[in-house]
Symmetry: C2
Subunit: 199 residues, 2 copies
């Protein structure tokens, strides 16, 4: 599917065929696409948790406002990130020429070390980019998606045994939609959203 | 361009043809695509600042580690968001059936009111999604991009007269690339990044 078509066709779909599952190959295509998303300094700090166990899905649904897509979608992906990924900078640049490594490896430490909010912002931003990649790739593969942040983040963290140095950004349901999304309910105008030069 | 192809072909490109500019129609296509990106509760809080004034671009370059793409790219987009967009919830659901409005409008207040970190996380996440939309749309339109967070955020905020209740998430340079991106320097394996069920 053409990229601009996929961007326009992607909508948050809430109802899914509970009998459908992605093939292993489709799942791999989707996650390989996600891993092509950019991260600052190539730190690749996202960690994508595929929730497949039906009992775990049910437990997550109970702390996610009882939303049906949590259990009914073909795949539930929890978008998490390792806040401490910047602490091992060498591995992200091991294949670069030495002069590039000499600049970038120390720059990573300087950018993140001791800056908790900067680390957190980076996790949210990178997961946003990777999440949109997943949603557009899924659309192009014939699937619908629903991005979700309506859930108890701490409870889901416990359920998936999230390490202390990781955080959850949001979740995405992926599957065969059975009902169209509702019409867009109140879209802002171009002039309000796009600003030239200064506010 | 096919969506999966665009996802694979998108790379952070640092060198641009400084003589090239997007047509007004191309610019509109790109920003219209960005506005199709999802936001939680449809709050559409992103505000995209197109920096066109060459003097302003030069000033931004000076607080952005002197990176050439800031002045040389066809377009520089500062991805900002209005942290207080949740305070006017009715407008995002004005076209929905009344029972939907009755549930969602108060839910918006409950989700964000008094929760500064939640508001900030939402800005970073939504700008991440919209930014990836821009980068993939640009690729499909024959352009390259470079996402950037290597700059002095406070200094750029002053330069674009960012309102106090808005925040910057990152910047994107868009244009005609003149040099290929370097080879990927140290990519993590699938097994490290993709987790099944629990850590």
């Amino acid at each position: 599917m053409d990229t601009l078509t996929a961007i326009k066709a992607r909508r948050a779909v809430k109802h899914y065929d509970p009998e459908h599952r992605l093939t292993e190959e489709e799942e791999r295509t989707l996650l390989d696409a996600a891993m092509q998303s950019p991260t600052a300094f190539n730190i690749q700090h996202w960690r994508f948790v595929l929730v497949k166990d039906p009992a775990l899905r049910q437990q997550i649904r109970e702390v996610a406002w009882d939303q049906a897509q949590v259990t009914d979608a073909s795949l539930l992906i929890i978008m998490t990130a390792n806040k401490d990924a910047w602490k091992t900078p060498e591995r992200y640049w091991a294949g670069a020429p030495q002069p590039v490594q000499d600049i970038l490896v120390p720059a990573i430490d300087g950018y993140y070390n001791g800056k908790d909010q900067v680390q957190r912002d980076e996790c949210m931003r990178s997961c946003g980019m990777a999440g949109q990649t997943i949603m557009l790739a899924a659309k192009a593969m014939g699937y619908d998606t629903c991005p979700m942040d309506g859930f108890d983040f701490d409870a889901v963290a416990k359920l998936i045994k999230l390490p202390d140095d990781h955080i959850i950004s949001f979740m995405i349901a992926v599957g065969k939609g059975t009902k169209e999304a509702w019409a867009k309910p109140g879209q802002l105008g171009y002039e309000e959203v796009v600003i030239e030069d200064t506010f």
